[in-house]
């Protein structure tokens, strides 16, 4: 019963930019209402997977299904009401305010003569409240700090009101406190609103801490996928990152914590 299906999955997905395939025959189902982290080494295809799921790339083979239907056969706008994306380093036009940015997130819900409904107004207010940006909403984006700016973009994606949100490295360029702030916010949104969150993360330990499901990519394929406590092992880290590591329990959360091994006894600069 394909029409009853709810959520996002890929079947036999292959993607290449006209050249060699970046993703090869990849099949995965994103847990609905969960937090999924996609991890992997540089150039392992994790951003490509996210972009293919977001319909930004045309697959060379296979299909992405959104709510049971091929995503490429649905109208761009209908997809946009159910699937949102926050690109890696989004760029705002000069001098626009937070409020203006967030309002633009309502585009898929607007019609030619129905441009600013009560629902639009409410969604924008809610997005600003959820991200704690109400007080900063008249500020120009280019005058905000990195963390505030990322929250403003997150508010834009929230105003889109899509059940599934894809985020490409939402914590890059942020200091550790702001990284934690953004990730905590995503967890809160997931809990309070039941939104499905899929994000590419660079930091393996953050993925373990915040995600309920981890997809580890290596060379365009899924090397391992599952709950972090089950799949994050020394063997998987070796396979995905080519790194010898010890896995211990995070003293705060009890989730796996990855500590890289020292390569050789003489390589610690402090002891040389």
């Amino acid at each position: 019963m394909p029409s009853e299906e709810h959520g996002l999955r890929a079947a036999g997905l292959s993607v290449g930019y006209g050249g060699p395939l970046i993703l090869e025959g990849l099949t995965t189902t994103i847990p609905t209402a969960g937090i999924t982290a996609i991890i992997g080494a540089n150039a392992s295809g994790k951003s490509t997977l996210l972009r293919a799921l977001a319909r930004l790339l045309r697959p060379a083979g296979g299909t992405v299904f959104l709510d049971g239907t091929d995503i490429a056969r649905q109208s761009t706008r209908s997809v946009a009401t159910r699937l949102g994306l926050l690109p890696q380093t989004p760029r705002a036009p000069d001098g626009i305010s937070v409020d203006d940015l967030v309002r633009r997130g309502r585009y898929p819900h607007q019609r030619m003569f129905d441009q600013w409904s009560r629902a639009d107004e409410q969604a924008v207010r809610r997005a600003l409240e959820l991200t704690g940006m109400v007080e900063l909403r008249e500020q120009a984006i280019d005058r905000l700090s990195g963390g505030q700016r990322q929250r403003a973009w997150l508010a834009m994606a929230l105003a889109q009101d899509a059940g599934t949100m894809l985020l490409d490295e939402p914590t890059t360029h942020l200091d550790i406190a702001h990284q934690v702030e953004i990730l905590d916010l995503l967890v809160e949104l997931n809990h309070s609103e039941g939104r499905t969150v899929v994000m590419v993360l660079h930091d393996l330990n953050q993925a373990c801490r915040y995600a309920s499901y981890v997809i580890a990519m290596a060379e365009g394929r899924i090397a391992a996928a599952g709950e972090p406590s089950q799949i994050v092992t020394a063997e998987v880290i070796q396979r995905v990152f080519g790194l010898a590591a010890r896995i211990i329990a995070d003293p705060v959360t009890g989730m796996p914590l990855c500590i890289p091994e020292r390569k050789a006894a003489g390589t610690d600069p402090r002891r040389s």
Binding site: P87, G95, Q110
Partner: protein
């Protein structure tokens, strides 16, 4: 010929200086910060109104009407102010009918409509590539139209073909730029660089035509090329009005899509915008608006480049309402440029394009000073 140019009129000079100061003040202190807005509902329709844009629009519309009235009243042939307005609006005919209704009235309407077209075109292009230094005259669309039109003038074809040739030239140039810039989609920066190259090429063609043909033919073409409203007729009004009636609503609809496109291709697609289709539509509408103007009054520079800045400084980022304001400001700029062109050295008349360029140069420098980022 130099001796024939009389001293500048002190009144006009004063008015020019005052508007210069006012505009510089506007550009120096752009409007940022809180924008009060309300929601308008009517049945299934709804819209967001920024009060600032509404009252600014009203004020600029009033200024436009005042300038149009001024254009009807002033001129070499003395007509009492009240009689001029009466002849134009409710008491047509009479002794001033020819001066007012055949010379001045079409001229002010052409200036109004052409200014609106140019400013809208500039706003579309600037939003499209998110670069404030872009306009149809810079990427070669005006030059393409001019090259075509001059070729027609110089080979001695029927001058009635000139608007058609100019329009064809503008559209063809836009198409060439677009095709050369296309690499699995069109990036803004590429479009601009290709446009600048094409512009240089076409400028060379025009120079060649100017030296290749006898001076009598060339001088008529050169006047047209500077952009003049002196030959404005009701037929011109009809062409411009038809163009604006089709293309402005299209631009208004595109404004909302441009707001999304400005967030970058990935974010825009994720918001449900068909990015490439939107770009093509903006280029077609923007070139069309510029082409209509070139066809009628010649390649007037700087209106398309400057007016969107003034609108942005007054009212903030692109919305449908700001686009309407931009069009009105375009009308104001061209109307006042034409008044200055007619009266500054009266009875010697300058082409309006000379005045827009003279106003434009300093403003361009002011804008460059204001933007701190690199281009």
């Amino acid at each position: 010929m130099i001796a024939a140019v009389p001293a500048p009129s002190p009144y006009v000079l004063g008015a020019v200086a005052a508007s210069f100061v006012a505009l510089t003040a506007v550009l120096r202190r752009p409007h940022l910060g809180p924008v009060a807005a309300g929601r308008l509902r009517w049945g299934a329709c709804s819209a967001r109104l920024q009060w600032r844009v509404v009252w600014l629009g009203g004020a600029v519309a009033a200024i436009t009407l005042a300038l149009m009235a001024t254009g009807l009243v002033v001129g070499d042939f003395p007509v009492p102010a009240w009689r001029a307005l009466a002849t134009a609006i409710w008491d047509r005919g009479g002794e001033f009918d020819f001066v007012v209704n055949s010379l001045r009235f079409p001229r002010v309407v052409v200036a109004t409509l052409a200014g609106a077209c140019l400013a809208t075109s500039g706003a579309l292009f600037q939003s499209l590539v998110d670069n404030p230094l872009v306009s149809p005259d810079i990427i070669g669309i005006n030059t393409g139209a001019a090259a075509c039109a001059m070729a027609i003038l110089l080979v001695g074809a029927d001058p009635a073909l000139l608007p058609v040739a100019a329009f064809g030239g503008a559209v063809a140039t836009a198409a060439v730029i677009f095709l050369l810039a296309w690499r699995r989609g069109v990036s803004g920066a590429r479009l601009v660089l290709v446009g600048i190259g094409i512009n240089a090429l076409l400028a060379a063609v025009i120079s060649f035509l100017l030296v290749r043909f006898p001076i009598e033919q060339v001088s008529a073409a050169a006047t047209w090329q500077a952009g003049t409203l002196a030959a404005a007729s009701w037929r011109n009004v009809l062409v411009l009005a038809a163009g604006l009636a089709v293309l402005f609503p299209a631009a208004f609809v595109l404004a909302r899509r441009l707001r999304v496109l400005q967030l970058g291709d990935d974010a825009a697609s994720a918001l449900g915008l068909r990015v490439e289709a939107c770009r093509v539509a903006v280029i077609v509408v923007g070139s069309g608006l510029a082409a209509v103007v070139v066809a009628v009054v010649g390649p007037l520079g700087f209106v398309a480049l400057l007016v969107p800045h003034v609108a942005r400084s007054l009212a903030g980022t692109m919305t449908g309402g700001v686009l309407v304001l931009t069009a009105l400001l375009g009308a104001v700029m061209l109307l006042s440029a034409d008044l200055v062109a007619q009266r500054l050295f009266a009875p010697t008349v300058l082409p309006a394009g000379v005045v827009t360029a003279a106003m434009g140069g300093p403003f361009l420098l002011a804008i460059l000073r204001r933007y701190h980022r690199a281009f």
